[in-house]
Amino acid sequence: MDMKVAKKLGLKERYALMTRDLAWDTTYQPMDKVFPQTTYEGIKIHDWDKWEDPFRLTMDAYWKYQSEKERKLYAILDGFNQNNGHLSVTDARYINVLKLFLGSTPPLELMAARGFSMMGRQMNGAGPRVACQMQAVDEYRHFQTQIHSISNYNKYYNGMDEFAHQQSRMWYLSDGKSFFDDAITAGPFEFMVAIGFAFEYVLTNILFVPFISGAAYNGDMAAMTVGFSAQSDEARHMTLGLECIKFMLEQDPDNLPIVQRWIDKWTWRGTRKLASVGMMMDYMLPKRIMSFKEAWEMYVEENGGALFKDLARYGITIPKCFGQTIEEKEHVTHQSWIGFYMKPQATPFHTWIPTPDEMDWLSEKYPNTFDKYYRPVLEHLDAQEKAGNRFDNKTAPMNCQVCVSTMKFNEPGDPMEMCFRESIYQGEKFHTCSDHCKEIFDNEPEKYIQTFISSHQVLQGNCEPDGTDVNAADFKPGQNMLDYWKLDKRALGDFNGSDDQKNFAAWREQATKN
């Protein structure tokens, strides 16, 4: 019998058949009732079929490649853990960066998974629905693999076990939490700009690229494999975010001002969140491959600049905040580290004064700012510590009502002056850290007056461990903060003299001789 061998379908045809061709328009109910969320933000879409899917990944190919990624990742993790990999990192200070990462990143991946599951339901077009569904699965994978990769460290070092409890409560985790809370409570298109553009394009390009390369440089194969495995998905995510922006701009000229406002807002919010990521690169990696400033220039200034130039054909202009972010790149990491150093009793990770060599590296990388503004502060704090008077700020910080960063950034053009802004809404005063956060607040005050800021709420008796009588005569707000946060006391204080420091030294000694 003669058999006709069908020609293998091309990628575009395969994608079209396996994705869009499987979708249908509803008939019992009109489509706009089934997908009600895509209109209320004011974005006008005329033809969902115009959505381009650059990666053209079908579901079967998705599972095939993702399972291959997982197999590689867990093989490396097993090898690293079985070989006492934790003792091969440069020095025990490095482990503190994982504590900060664990508290700040996996919970946000979980929020991203939730958000993209919502997008997978809310978007009218089959193309974006499938891409969002894949991204939701990716994000869930990142959430799980990050926790798995760090769980081995949790067996040996202090301060990692309560990250999930701390996510909604710790003062310094609030900025990331608020980023996602803000995005997920916005409409679907704003969410796509917030996460698909600002989070993927601005933030993860720094967090999962130069920072993870730095983790590898410091001998942490676990962080390396999990970071790069996650980032291999992010390339697809960035493309989805970018595609969504182009799609909105191509569909209707009325979308331009809305999209521009979101780009302005989320570029700024992404930048604020980067301050602590940059600090991880500049201060917490014992061996450094590049400064935050250099990474910023490569991945945000040049790469973001390329994107904004590309979008100029639709009328998009460079975000208003861009100039200020460029000025701040030489300051924010130093301000963040000094801020954390000053609060040794309020984080589950240790801080320290950089060694003289490390300070010289910072001088070289930050010739305009480090020696002038930050070295004197660090040297003063060092001298005080050596005199037995380690700085310990016991007061609760003040946080920005929008980005929920602690107030620590400087007035534009004046590094010696701290920046505060305030807005009055319904007779109440709200504080923001910058002109850009103030503008975001003033544009949607009803949203941001609801921000939960633990360091403010504690003064009202709202941040107490269960069973505390806030009406007792001797009640003092904030006296139980460590219990409220479930902070492991062994994880507090300076790195010098910590259990982690002593244990690591002892175990490494054991690892090299009988």
Partner: protein, 89 residues
């Protein structure tokens, strides 16, 4: 002019992919970093299936790039034969 770029985890497969990129993109710049490699090309970067297949000595499906990718920059277009990143500027 903006640079389109792509970064890969360092491994044997990506070594072949990078060689192919260097052959097919005159002006490509390689930035070798710990455990990763980043390649920049002004305006347009193309990865051709045929060249990668030749470098690897086996059939290569461009979607295998998913396994080694770290990050990209540029507007993406993907077909069976070419993976292209472009900036319009």
């Amino acid at each position: 002019m903006s640079n389109a770029f792509i970064a890969f985890q360092k491994n044997d497969d990506s070594r072949c992919i990078i060689e192919a990129i260097l052959d097919d993109n005159p002006g490509a710049m390689v930035d070798d970093q710990p455990s990763m490699v980043k390649i920049d090309v002004p305006n347009r970067l193309v990865i051709k299936r045929e060249t990668v297949t030749e470098k690897m000595g086996r059939e290569f499906d461009l979607q295998e790039l998913q396994l080694h990718l770290i990050t990209i920059s540029g507007n993406l277009d993907e077909t069976d034969d070419e993976f292209t990143l472009t900036w319009n500027s």
